[in-house]
Each structure stands twice: as structure tokens, then as C-alpha cells.
């Protein structure tokens, strides 16, 4: 089955086709770009919420509770949970569904677990494509959950309209748990497990840190407390996400973000396409292998080689395009 064959099913609400399409996205099946192209005009309706935070901060529980809250507000929900794959075997244990059992039979909730795999094209793209597919499928709210461990997670949730950064009391008295790089992208901070000692202090610490942010911003990230286990603070959190969306719309930022995102996306897609085709072309070429050896033994330098190869590739590329134009 190819991705393009699934487009109709996804658009008509067939969850099995959606699930299959996401698998093909993960497997980088060749017709995926075309399928996503066909779905593109049907996207842009869902509000995307990204959630990150250290392991054990209760993210899955929070997502479950938020979903319950959204469902009482008659919103449909799609969830993408990203868990690390083993760098050695590529296998992964995806256990986020354990916490989400109460939505297991709700047809208005779609949950998908993804391993980070060794995505050459970048995990961020696979995730954002999956989110896009769910968006086209028609979910009102799309939640992306990922372990806050580093740069790739930042990229993963960068597609979100609203980014939640979760932390818990304790775990040292500073905010080490929230990695640098993740702090800056938060739209809302959530201190979960508010029943644990030190919750208030954690809130104060985060606020103090926000005070040192020199940027002038109309939206200062609020710092909320929740106890996801008992469902406390969840309605307030969902209200705040709504408020953030309203802020994005009213300030024109949503449109601006959309523009910025389209620009970046086009760039990424082009980069990817060019790199893929270039590497495809070079793979196994004797000239290429010779050049590499020369670089290694210092009889040539990588800068000039790159210049030469790319120039040649672009010239070929131009010729090919012109030829296919002529044939038409």
C-alpha cells in the first residue's frame, strides 16, 4: 500500500488509514510527500499543543487528564507520544498508552506512539508529518508529548502553537531538570505533582528566572500548578491554553508563526529533497570515492570538492529539467 492510496480514507475519517499513513511516514515510504501534499490544504485547523518535561514528571497522566477535559468541552483529540528508540537495536518500548486507558474506546480520541528511531531525515519531520496527518483527519486538538532531553525534542515540539514545559517539585532545588534550550520555548510552565513538598518554591524559582528574561514579550509564560494524578488544576490549564491561542490570534502572531513556519518548512523540504537527490546521484560514483580519498590524503580539500560536485549536480539538474520541459 502506498501513502497516496490512503489520502481519501484519512479525509473521510477512517482511523485505520490514518494509522497506516503514519506508519508509512515513519518508514519514509516514497509517496509520502505526495500524499502529504494532497492533505495539505485540509490542515491548519487543529490547535497543536506540545508537551515536554523530564521523565517521571507525569506527562502522560497530564495528557490523559487534559484529554478528559477537552472531551467534556466537546473537542476531539489526537495524541502523539514520542519515546526514545534504542540507539543500538532501533527497537523501542512504547508505554504511554498505559496511562491513557480511560480513552481507549473513545473514537474521538486517537493515540499514536512513535519511537525516535534513527530518522535520517530528522525525527522532527516524521513527527510533524504525523501531526499534519492527524490535523487533516480533523482532530480539534493535537497533543505532542516528548521527553525533554535535548535539542531534537525542542525541534519536535517546535511545530506546536502552544508549548507546555512540565517540571516537578524536588529533584534538586534548582531548575536543572528543565534543560537549557527548553526554557526559552515555553509558552506555559506547569509544575505538576503540586501535592509534593516544594511545589510553591518551584513556581517561585521559575518566575524568578522569567524575570531575568530580557526579551520584551506581550505574553509572559504563566507558571501553573497541577496535580494530574487527582485532576487538580487541569481545567485551569486548558483555559490558559485557550487564552494563549486567543493571544496568538489577536496579536497576529498565529498568522506570523504560520508564515514563518511555511518559510521554514519549504526550506526544510527543499533541503531534504536536494540532499536526497544529490546523495543518490553521488552514491557509488567512482569520481566521488576518488575525491574522498584525495581529501583524506590532503591532496585536495573538501571545500573545493564540494563546490565542484554541487556545481556539476546543479548543471545536470538544470539540463534534466529543461529536457523534461521540452518533452512536454
Amino acid at each position: 500500500m502506498s501513502a497516496t492510496q490512503l489520502v481519501e480514507g484519512v479525509l473521510s475519517g477512517n482511523r485505520r488509514d490514518l494509522a497506516r499513513l503514519i506508519s508509512l511516514i515513519e518508514d519514509e515510504e516514497p509517496s509520502v510527500p505526495e500524499a502529504l501534499g494532497q492533505l495539505y490544504r485540509h490542515t491548519g485547523r487543529g490547535h497543536i499543543v506540545g508537551i515536554t518535561g523530564p521523565p517521571g514528571s507525569g506527562k502522560s497522566t497530564l495528557v490523559t487528564r487534559m484529554t478528559t477535559e477537552y472531551r467534556t468541552r466537546n473537542k476531539t483529540v489526537g495524541i502523539v507520544c514520542v519515546d526514545p528508540s534504542s540507539p543500538f537495536t532501533g527497537g523501542a518500548l512504547l508505554g504511554d498508552r498505559i496511562r491513557m486507558q480511560e480513552h481507549a474506546l473513545d473514537r474521538e480520541v486517537f493515540v499514536r506512539s512513535m519511537g525516535t528511531r534513527g530518522h535520517l531525515g530528522g525525527l522532527a519531520r516524521a513527527t510533524s508529518d504525523a501531526v499534519r496527518a492527524i490535523d487533516a483527519f480533523g482532530k480539534d486538538i493535537i497533543i505532542v508529548e516528548t521527553v525533554g532531553a535535548g535539542q531534537s525534542e525542542v525541534e519536535v515540539i517546535d511545530i506546536a502553537h502552544t508549548i507546555l514545559v512540565i517540571d516537578v517539585p524536588g529533584a534538586g532545588d534548582d531548575i536543572q531538570a528543565i534543560k537549557a534550550g527548553i526554557m526559552e520555548i515555553a509558552d506555559i510552565f506547569v509544575v505538576n505533582k503540586s501535592d509534593m513538598p516544594g511545589a510553591e518554591r518551584k513556581v517561585t524559582e521559575i518566575n524568578a528566572m522569567l524575570d531575568t528574561d530580557p526579551r520584551e514579550r506581550a505574553w509572559r509564560p504563566p507558571v501553573l500548578m497541577t496535580n494530574a494524578r487527582d485532576g487538580e488544576g487541569i481545567a485551569g490549564l486548558v483555559d490558559t491554553i485557550d487564552a494563549h491561542r486567543k493571544y496568538l490570534v489577536d496579536s497576529g502572531l498565529l498568522a506570523e508563526k504560520g508564515l514563518q513556519r511555511s518559510r521554514e518548512e519549504l526550506k526544510t523540504i527543499m533541503e531534504h529533497k536536494l540532499t536526497t537527490e544529490l546523495m543518490e546521484k553521488l552514491k557509488g560514483l567512482p569520481e566521488y570515492e576518488r575525491a574522498i580519498k584525495k581529501i583524506a590524503d590532503r591532496s585536495d580539500d573538501p571545500y573545493s570538492v564540494a563546490e565542484r560536485l554541487i556545481t556539476k549536480f546543479l548543471a545536470d539538474y538544470g539540463r534534466r529539467v529543461a529536457e523534461s520541459e521540452r518533452k512536454r
Binding site: R15, R16, A19, R20, I22, S23, E26, D27, E28, E29, P30, S85, S86, T89, G90, G91, A92, L93, L94, G95, R97, I98, Q101, A104, L105, F110, V111, R112, S113, G115, R117, G118, H119, L120, G121, T276, M279
Partner: protein, 133 residues
């Protein structure tokens, strides 16, 4: 530059039985064999199992059951899969299942039953040989 296809497996505990040692050990073995394993926890109804299998688009469902309710619950899983047109999913089972019951389960679409004492590699090999990707 396509990443290799990964075998995706749902490991599930149908019914009320809480003995998940085997399920978890198998889940880890499949992970270490390079598969992506979705584990959903205890007390799964056949409906929940099938819904998860579809949303996660898995190639294999591994059902672990030690309570003796296998004859009631396992055929229900394959029946629901059939209704969803998802017969291509390979369904295997493990746990305490008397030999006498195995033919009946196989007739209902359970591809293989792995009893106590099964080597983990046996299960891995079986999946690799029989999965439809």
C-alpha cells in the same frame, strides 16, 4: 534515504489477570530484537486491544494470559480484527494455556501459542518469519 521498516508489536494482557512478568519480559526481548513494542498494561478487553492495534498500526499482537479465560477472550480478539478488516495482523499468545485448547485457538486465528519454558529467541524468530510487513 528511507529508514528501514520496523516491526511494530502490541503486547497486551486481556482479562483481569495481573501476572505481567511474562508480557513484560517478552516486550523487552522484542525491543532488544529491534522491534517497536506498544504495551498497554493490565485489564484489557478485546475491544481495547483491537482499537489500540489499529491506532498503532501494529503488525503483530502478542496476548499474554494466565487466568484460564483464553477460550473466551482470545477468539473475540481475532473476531473483532476480522470485523475491522485487519486479519493481516499476526496474533500470537502465551501464558498458561493447556495443550488441548491450542487447536481450538488456532482454528480461531491465533497463529501460535507459546507455553511456559519458551525461549525468548523462539518468539522473536517466529515473528520475524511470519509477520506481514
Amino acid at each position: 534515504m528511507s529508514s528501514p521498516k520496523r516491526i511494530r508489536v502490541l503486547v497486551a494482557k486481556p482479562g483481569l489477570d495481573g501476572h505481567d512478568r511474562g508480557a513484560k519480559v517478552v516486550a523487552r526481548a522484542l525491543r532488544d530484537a529491534g522491534m517497536e513494542v506498544v504495551y498497554t498494561g493490565l485489564r484489557q478487553t478485546p475491544e481495547m486491544i483491537v482499537e489500540a492495534a489499529i491506532q498503532e498500526s501494529v503488525h503483530v499482537i502478542g496476548l499474554s494470559i494466565l487466568s484460564g479465560a483464553h477460550n473466551a477472550l482470545l477468539p473475540r480478539v481475532t473476531e473483532l480484527l476480522h470485523k475491522e478488516g485487519a486479519d493481516d495482523i499476526l496474533v500470537i499468545a502465551g501464558g498458561i494455556i493447556p495443550e488441548d485448547d491450542v487447536p481450538g485457538l488456532k482454528k480461531h486465528g491465533i497463529a501460535e501459542v507459546f507455553g511456559p519454558g519458551t525461549r525468548l529467541s523462539e518468539i522473536v524468530d517466529y515473528i520475524k518469519a511470519h509477520v506481514k510487513l
